[in-house]
Amino acid sequence: MTGGVRECDVLVIGGGPAGLCAALAAASCGVGVIMAERDGHLGGQLAKQTHKFFGSARQFGGERGFLIAQRLAAEAENAAGIEILTETPVLGIYEDGVATLLHRGGHMKVRPRKIVAACGAAENFLAFEGNDLPGVCSAGAAETLINAQGVLPGRRALMVGGGNVGLMVAYQLLQAGMEVPALINHAPQIDGYWVHAAKIRRSGVPILNSTTIKSAYGNGQVEGAIICEVDENRQPLPGTERRVECDLICLAVGLSPLNGLCQQAGAALAYIPELSGHVPVTDEYLRTSQEGLYAAGDAAGVEEAATAMEEGKIAGLSAAVALGYGGTAAQEALTEAAAELKRLREGPMSERIRRGLAVLRSEVIKC
């Protein structure tokens, strides 16, 4: 420690799937890591996900999300060279390379040689009349209450959004004992895996495509919603309004990357709709335009846990190699992770991501 500033090789911001894999990969090369997680537990949003993941054993395919989180967290806790700080949000990264962490009510100053930003994403809101009524919440909020806290946020939930989050959380609400009168989706077809859609259809939940929410109503809190159909331009069709009685309205309308720290640190951002918004411009090693700053996981473009884990490995290994650690083994692991990430993105569901990344990588030259 010099003048109250702690020195370390790598600071990993965020203890979700990307951050955990970044910390583990860097530590495996002998790098000293501080991992700062704002929440009281590790695993990020994986810690509340009960569905089984797809993919190969490398990404824990067939295992439930919260068990993957537990496994990665245990690995990090037992790994030599990773200091884990929970309940420790990172407040800022400054021009002199010092990051300020809020830790146990005080400011902790850290000067890392490299930083991996794995800050995750935040769920989007949606504009409609009555959207501020208590009982309108994000799908992730309902998932947190039922799966992480064992609390029912209501009895009967309307799900808004036909992507994987909407489909999976609708099923999880049923598993928790709630009713789901409908899942509505403004697009003409769902935008998630059909296996998740099939589960809720088999459970009797109608999926209403080309349908949106017009308003929420209730005296002080949600008592129902008015839904309506939309035309091919996603505009409401007059005369198609219907009332849905419910005490909860869950919004699963996408996520936005938490890019604040990268932006504040001086990294160039680009607006890439396919990656869900403003993301730091990164190269294939996940280096941002800011010297020594890497970005991985949803913060680098909203995708899924399997790709977030591979991105974490790439960022952690890139940082280690840049610091001269790991030798040829680290180089090989880096090549392998890059190849695996490419393989994960080969499917038809990743077409949008591939398109977004092509635009993003073309931005690198400008920075």
């Binding site: 769920e123 009524l133 806290q149 946020p153």
Partner: protein, 101 residues
């Protein structure tokens, strides 16, 4: 309401404690967040908006947004979705912006 039976998850109840919501005693379990315990007790209106007085509730439940700010033991603007309950804690609907000092 709390989940009693679940096909995948178990929720071992922590010790029973109580805290206060606008002076009213609310039962909770150790490890609960304030927002979780209030939701379980059927209390979903956490505050009212400053200008129009519209009711406010929980939105993200993970500390991203500012929908659930309340006054906890005299400290304003606490995100109660990520604040754990403590026995005897005084949780109040916040009037106005709150004062820092």
């Amino acid at each position: 309401m709390r989940i009693r039976e679940h096909p995948i998850l178990r929720f071992p109840a922590g010790g029973k404690i109580s805290f206060f919501f606008d002076g009213r005693e609310v039962e909770a379990f150790e490890g609960d967040t304030v927002a979780g315990a209030l939701t379980a007790a059927g209390l979903r209106i956490l505050a009212h908006s400053r200008r129009l007085g519209r009711p406010r509730g929980l939105f993200c439940a993970i500390g991203n947004c500012a929908s659930c700010l309340m006054e906890v033991d005299g400290q304003p603007n606490v995100r109660v979705c990520v604040e754990k309950v403590r026995p005897g804690m005084q949780v109040c609907s916040q009037a106005g912006k709150g004062r820092l000092l």
